[in-house]
Symmetry: C2
Subunit: 782 residues, 2 copies
């Protein structure tokens, strides 16, 4: 039987998806289920003076209204949640901290009634001064969002050092200290210093946040569109003060996640509302509420880079401000990834990073495809082209000169292995866009080619430019995945994992790995959805970790079953287990003379089924004072290359060609891997060109998909290509779910610069900014 | 921590049950779910000439109509099911075999539409001669129900010898041959020969049969109120020709089962209808349809018993005819249990049993609480009193003389152990009804006591009588149960089993056993419902096997986790595993100097959870030619005692006192155990007094709960008491779910005889039969 791994088999649930019948939590139903709606703060920062729900409670059809009165001083409930620090209340207690902060929730027999009830709840606020910018939020005298932290329950995540500043908005501070950065700068021939900014953006999964909850007989059951069922379970166990076994989190397929569905979001308010209503409650967010739930981190990155006479980077100092918004969510950890990433995939002997998570009065920021690395890469890959230009290098050549190779040392002090930047950049990216090596800057080429960029402009007011970028990204470390499996009497296999299928093909890929390990056809395998009562522990479906981490756990579980098969068959055939092989659905004597199918072995054993288990835990972590240690079990790497055409009259950037290439170790399903890279690229293009959450005094003013643009078919590159680089030497699969997002934005910005000489350091690259840049250039030239 | 075993803790789901919110399949919902309805045959036996669904298909709202056209010659479907022999088609193919046999099914948007569509389906039948009585069905020339059997798929159950007679209605024949029965009769001082009959009756669970199905993307998911999820899975895998892993059977709590929900019932028609509709379909039977789905076996038992001069039974020959109805269901196995049981709990050196399952044109019979033993006990316990009277023995004394004691040999040749009849009969039953020892028959006492029975009649036309009976019952053997468990990071435990909760308290009892094995509080444990994708194999929830068989599997699974806890803690504490103890949620060094909580161990291990598994398989089985071997891993035994008052003017029997006692080995939850025995007793009282499915030419004429009576509160005994006998020596738990049904019916009949001298040999003991008996007595005396 040829291995099912490495084949582009169709997604297991393709038929259901195409027919629109796949089971989303969005569509889940329960008998007697109520509709939940949330009343939200209209103020970015205010003290909560009074809440009166009396009139709303009178409304026929209203079953329960949840407000702080239900949870303050209620010994049955611990009212806070948050994956690192419990700083977010189920509903606002003393004050509200952003426009959209939940203040109360209604459970009613239908949506209209719930909506009407929201309008009948009277809330009196005392507005407080607010702050929205992370750097301003750190200025002494800035309004403080969290004067104190509530008493914490439960353990912090082992890999997060959490050091909030009392009486400050500084939520956390990640430090990286490699080499002697001051000495590095002293040695430097030239020093480059720039600041880069990127705005908060939205994940926009097609399925909004949804949670349905039932609290009954000492047991809490939640159906949630979450990427982190076990985290939800732990947080609900804290809130309800119940054993983990009494919290059941069931996750159907998600209609997209992209990080937005990591960690507790709707589940606490939904479950506590169901507890009060004593009936099941389902909450589905409107799109505008999704905008008010979680975002990518706005960031400001100050980057100081010193290079030697040959252009080699000798020192880098980065100061990163990640705007956490009103609550911590995963910011305390994200600034670590977004911190060490600022060194980029380059050999830099001396690195100093201060990466800050800062509270402010905007929507909380959380995990977002790229996880801090996009913000860092936006800075360092923009700056790489700026340095290359200043030093007179071709940007590609300049990257090759500095990029990490096997045996080099990354910013975290780790020696890196299995590095393939040369291949990604040269063999792949360069070829895909016909990159013409050479160090000419855009204006040099413009004159040399008769006003043509690296390509050729079709009409005189359009200019073309190209760029190539590359990035490095880690995966959450340490990390634990556990899987089990059940070999049935007919030799078919049920694989149980808590990995979340969200359109990325997790089920399909895990089935392929199980099929390979078991030696049985893919059709004889089912992979579960998460149900924390029955599927084993998994840390999270995020961080591009599932194929590698859960894939390994599944393989171990199948091997556990095969070990049992061999032991049982040895008894049944009266032969030593070492004289047996186990593959292709059959246990055979090594001499080939006798064999039993898996089915024969299970039936003869009279055990009904064989149960296997596997757990895969990686170790690692960084020293809190130096950021040195093991940052990631694998280092994901990707490159991007593009050609743009810039309309100098409208400022509009058109992407003519875009190529993303990503290293994947061993590829389980080439087509699905390519689709991941394609999807990441489109994510990056939206963020490059127009995605941006716009606030006016803390009020989000484009919280809908008319005013907030995501890429449509019309925004696709003229030619979009991807390559997923497989390396036989790798052996192991590497995650690729998000590695191709971060290189996109600087690639487009660098190509823009290459085309028209306009350098933009704040995303997105809007026509207005391009035109303003062109105007500045004209002024400077004039 | 005191063991949670042996405590009458409340049912885990008591709150949900009381509030009516417990999740029954009846209430399950799926988005876009259609209503399924079944068109049924009006003829007891007919050839199917033509089915025209065209008009029905035109009806707006009708999505799919399933008839034989969809499944005949369809290579995608194997159209038969049945737990032993696949003789029952999904819908009728060539002919119909009972009034109610499914002919077609409609899936429509609502119930009214489905009902209307049924009326628009045109069916042309060619009526065939029918046969309803099992003995008549075996007469040469009787109409044959199954001329041939379809080609069989899959394995027969290992413990069933299946030997149908070609061209006959004889479905199966169980033989038991112990000793030399003819020689026994030759030695006998007296021989007693009687025939006993009992009618088909209904199980009447409050929740009717229900199945909801979804067939999509090569996977079949069925929500069913079934006691046998793994059997359903296997049968659907055959029908759809899919691997077992692609069939998912989910079972919520059942609103009662009593055997009626064993093996495939609605699931095939529901799933194939959903397959055709390409949408989920839910079928809920009306009560009258439940009557047409499965029944207890009507039976005729000819019993010939020889006794020696001292009254010791020396030979017994039984010829049992069990009316299987139109399809085999589990009849081929049931006649085995109903066969060997005919020897009763008595030492009989020579036993010959022929037990037949016979097809006839009535509703198929299947598992029913008591499983064949009720029919057998009805015969042998009635006859025991008849023999005792004839020999001049007190019935209790006569039973004690013959009953099995430790070391005796049962009819199957097994030496029995742990027999407690003496205690059940003497210490318990006798005391409960103030049984007055002595051999006087009713009329002797009547004269001696001045026309008073064993008690005293309140008015002259009422007579009182007493009786004591006892039975033996096996549990399905061989048998396999598998369980797994998941110890969470906080030391709480999720137990996964496929045992079905149907109000009997399975979840509670399994949680108690898990809590004891783990040494953690009951509140930290959750027990799953069956989901064949994730919960391990279990043979069935029936045969009073769950507490013992699954309880043992659960204990083994917990022990597996404890073994891992000790191993991990040994590493963590750097000590040998043998120097550690593991209990009360803590791993401790034997010297008590150091300890880690389970939670500490799991957290330190960084495995996320520990997964344990346990499988418990019993062996045994009977030789097909002699019925000798191992019939049951445990022999369940029970006794009943009652006092009745008979109104000689109306013929009505009133139960003044009823006591049931049952041996339970080790009792896990005394209150739940008592409730099982109480419930069994009421089951038996209904069957004693009035339960009976009445047919007129194959037409069931009382298929509703107005005409078919089950006991109401007014029918309760004046005093109902139970005792669950625990024996420290037993160690193991014994099943008690149904053992107390079979002794009831003969107990009431014997008490009736004791009161008024009327012997009725055909159930139920209706006033009409009592009056007719009294009239016959008067005539005889006159």
């Amino acid at each position: 039987m040829p291995s099912p791994v490495g084949r582009s088999v169709g997604m297991i649930d393709a038929d259901e998806r195409v027919r629109g019948t796949v089971a989303y939590a969005l569509n889940a139903e329960l008998p007697g289920c109520l509709t939940g709606r949330i009343l939200r703060s209209p103020h970015p920062h205010a003290r909560l003076v009074r809440i009166d729900t009396a009139r709303a409670e009178q409304l026929p059809g209203v079953i329960a209204i949840l407000s702080r009165a239900d949870i303050v001083d209620n010994p049955a409930l611990y009212p806070y949640f948050g994956p690192v620090v419990r700083d977010q209340p189920v509903v606002a207690l003393d004050k509200v901290r952003f426009v959209g902060d939940p203040v109360a929730a209604v459970a009613a027999v239908d949506d209209d009634t719930a909506q009407q009830a929201l309008e009948l709840i009277e809330v009196e606020y005392e507005p407080l001064p607010a702050v929205f910018d992370p750097e301003e939020a750190l200025v002494p005298g800035a309004p403080i969002l969290h004067e104190t932290f509530p008493p914490q329950r439960g353990a912090m995540s082992a890999d997060i050092v959490f050091n909030p500043s009392e009486g400050s908005n500084q939520l956390n501070h990640f430090k990286l200290r490699k080499g002697d950065v001051e000495a590095g700068f002293e040695q430097a021939h030239r020093i480059f210093e720039h600041t880069f900014r990127c705005p908060p953006v939205q994940h926009v999964p097609l399925e909004p946040h949804v949670a349905m909850a039932l609290v009954e007989a000492g047991k809490v059951t939640v159906w949630s569109g979450t990427q982190t069922p076990h985290n939800i379970r732990a947080q609900l166990a804290e809130i309800f003060q119940l054993p983990l076994a009494q919290i059941r989190v069931i996750v159907h397929t998600l209609g997209g996640g992209y990080g937005s569905k990591c960690y507790t979001k709707l589940e606490p308010i939904g479950a506590v509302l169901a507890w009060k209503a004593r009936r099941p409650v389902k909450i589905v967010l409107r799109r505008e509420e999704d905008f008010l739930t979680v975002t990518k981190h706005q960031a400001v990155i100050h980057l100081r880079t010193g290079v030697d006479r040959d252009g080699r980077i000798v020192a880098r100092k980065a100061t990163n401000y990640f705007n956490a918004g009103a609550y911590a969510d995963i910011s305390p950890r994200l600034i670590k990834n977004g911190g060490y990433a600022t060194a980029g995939p380059y050999r830099i002997p001396n690195v100093w990073v201060d990466s800050y998570a800062v509270y402010s009065n905007i929507v909380p920021a959380g995990a977002f495809r790229g996880y801090g690395v996009s913000q860092a890469a936006w800075a360092y890959e923009s700056q790489m082209d700026m340095i290359a230009e200043a030093l007179g290098y071709d940007p590609l050549e300049y990257r090759q000169m500095n990029v990490l190779h096997d045996g080099d040392t990354f910013a975290t002090g780790e020696q890196v292995h299995d590095m393939h930047y040369r291949e990604l950049l040269l063999a792949d990216a360069q070829k895909a866009i016909d990159w013409r090596p050479g160090a000419e800057a855009w204006w040099q080429r413009a004159s040399a080619d008769g006003d043509r960029g690296a390509g050729s402009a079709t009409v005189s007011h359009k200019r073309r430019g190209k760029a190539i970028t590359c990035v490095i990204k880690g995966s959450v470390t340490p990390s634990t995945s556990s899987a089990s499996c059940k070999l049935n009497e007919d030799g078919s296999l049920n694989v149980l994992t808590s990995s979340v299928e969200m359109g990325q093909g997790a089920k399909t890929v895990l089935a392929q790995l199980a099929a390979e390990a078991a030696g049985i056809p893919l059709e004889a395998i089912t992979v579960s959805e998460p149900d924390t009562d029955s599927t084993p522990y998994d840390q999270q479906t995020s961080s591009s970790r599932t194929t590698y981490s859960m894939g390994t756990a599944v393989t171990l579980a199948v091997q556990d079953v095969k070990r049992q098969l061999v032991e049982l068959a040895a008894d049944q055939l009266e032969i030593g287990p070492d004289d047996l092989t186990c593959d292709e659905g059959t246990v055979r004597t090594r001499d080939g003379s006798r064999s039993l199918s898996y089915s024969d072995v299970v039936r003869r054993s009279r055990r009904g089924n064989l149960l296997g288990q596997g757990t895969f835990a990686t170790s690692g972590g960084l020293d809190p004072e130096t950021g040195q240690g093991i940052g990631s079990i694998h280092w994901h790497h990707a490159a991007a290359a593009c050609e743009v055409e810039v309309d100098t009259e409208t400022g509009k950037i058109e992407i003519l060609r875009f190529h993303s290439s990503c290293f994947a170790g061993r590829v389980v399903n080439p087509r699905l891997a390519e689709l991941q890279v394609e999807g990441s690229t489109l994510f990056g293009l939206g963020q490059s060109l127009f995605e941006e959450m716009l606030y006016d005094g803390g009020q989000l003013i484009n919280a809908n998909l008319s005013d907030y643009m995501i890429p449509s078919f019309k925004d696709l590159p003229g030619r979009l290509s991807v390559s997923v680089l497989e390396h036989p030497s790798a052996g192991e699969v590497h995650g690729i779910g998000e590695t191709s997002v971060p290189p996109v934005m600087p690639c487009v910005a660098n190509a823009l610069y290459n085309a028209v000489g306009v350098r933009i350091t704040e995303l997105p690259l809007t026509p207005e900014k391009v035109l303003a840049g062109l105007a500045r250039r004209s002024e400077a030239e004039a």
